[in-house]
Every structure is written in C-alpha cells, then in structure tokens.
Amino acid sequence: MGVAAPLVMSATTFAGSAQFAVSSILGGAGGAAAAIAAAVLLNARYAPISISVAPLFRGPRLRRLLEAQLIVDESWALAARGGRFDRRILLGAGLLLYVSWVSGTAVGALVGDALGDPKDFGLDGAFPALFLALLVPQLRAPRAATAALVGAAIALALIPVTPPGTAIVVASAACLLGLGRRP
C-alpha cells in the first residue's frame, strides 16, 4: 500500500481490525468492493459503541463529530467505569492511542518487516484479556451479567456463519434486555 495510504487510513479510519482487513484483502487477490465491505462491517460496531457514550459529547455538532473520532475499542473500554463512562478517560486515552497509532503506522510503513510479527509478542491474546478485565467490574448487576452472557452467546453462535464484524453488531441487540423493569 506504500507509505502515504496507510498513514491517511490510520488518521481517518483509526481502527486496527478494519485496516488490517483492507491491507490483507488488497494485498491478496481481493478487489476494492470486497475490501470496503469487510472494513465497513468490521467497523459497524462503532454505531452501537458511539451510542453508548453519546451523552458524554456536548457542544456544537462539528466538535462532537471530531471528538467522536477518538472513540476506539480500547479508549471506550477503558472509559467504562461501573455502568457509567468517564469523558476524560475516553478522550485522553483516545488521543494518546491516536498519536501512537498514526506514528506507529509511519514506523511500520517505513521499516515494516524488520519489526517482526506482532503475534510473536502475543498481542492478539492480550487485547481480549484487556476487554475481559474491563468487563468483570461491569457484571455486578444481575441484569448486566445476563445481557453480557446473551451477547457473548450470540457472538459465539454467529462467528462461524457471518462475515467478520457482524457477530458483534448483532450481539449488541442483547442490550434490549434493558427495556424491562428497572432493577
């Protein structure tokens, strides 16, 4: 993909899984349509994720749109504090991750293969463990625990039969359990 395209992509898309999908599809035999479809599906989770933190964003529309770009799985997960979200953590962690991500992309695009495979460092097992650690404190309320279990079950059932990314979006429907009576 050269140097400029990955940099622009990290600056605008700023979401690892979709970017990795695009580079592997374009690097293989896939065309533009396949790459776009895969990436948009992978990022579709940001609709429910951004809705979950919507009340934290105030001020003019353009400002909300720009600040919203700092929402990424990790900043969002770190900002989740026992049923509420912390705006300063979301934007602070988001900004730190954004700067690291874009500069890391520059390093990767320039020296690339010299760095080795991130899988050798076990990073692909570290992220789900991070999400698990941030999930556990959220499970004290029985209703949250039930919803999480239902969401996990939906995701598990859909992974083998739907395109990557879809399972998370459908699983988010488990939050409709919150429509019932308040605890």
């Binding site: 605008t12 009340p55 919203a68 097992g125 999400f131 699983a171 939050c175 429509l179």
Partner: protein
C-alpha cells in the same frame, strides 16, 4: 484514482460517520430513562462480544489457538486481583509462549 486510494477514502468516510452516530445524533442531552436503560447495557454486552470474537473469532469459523491460553491466563490474573497492566502482560506472555510451544 487507484484502488487503494478509493478504498482508503470510502472506508475513512464510513468510519468517521459510524463513530459520529451517537455523539452527533444523541449527544448534548440526557437520554430518556428507557433509552438509558438500554444504552447502559451496551457496555457489558459489547465488551463480552469483543472478548468472544477476539479470543475465538476467525474467518467464518471458530479458531481455538494460542489466544485462548492468553485469555485463560489473563482470567486467572483477574481472579487473583492483579492490576490491569499486569493482566495484559500476563495474557501477552501466555499467548506468545503457547504459540512458541504449539
């Protein structure tokens, strides 16, 4: 325009719009109680779904590999009340080790 730039542009615009969904459409005000009840469950539900997809997710298949060892070790660290950075390091080490052995 080359294929690469077309994809970068379209995916970039789509992602900006997806991330802006909540803040632009619903931001700047308190949510009604019923909506807040639903939105409040989004965090545990999405976190649980992320744990599942990132641990065993594959391309149209469930994949049981070194990630499972990493998350298992991470879960043990969580149960032992280890701090967050320690959980992440333990999980990464266990994943790398399991991959080395396998």
């Amino acid at each position: 325009m080359s294929t690469v730039w077309l994809v970068v542009l379209v995916v970039g615009l789509a992602t900006v719009a997806l991330k802006a969904t909540g803040p632009v459409l619903l931001g700047g005000r308190e949510l009604p109680a019923r909506v807040a009840g639903v939105v409040g469950l989004l965090a545990p539900v999405l976190l649980a779904a992320l744990v599942v997809t990132q641990t065993v997710g594959g391309d149209y298949e469930l994949v049981l590999d070194a990630r499972l060892a990493g998350v298992g070790a991470g879960a043990a660290a969580i149960a032992a009340r280890a701090p967050l950075p320690a959980v992440v390091v333990v999980a990464a080490l266990a994943t790398a080790l399991a991959r080395l052995i396998a």
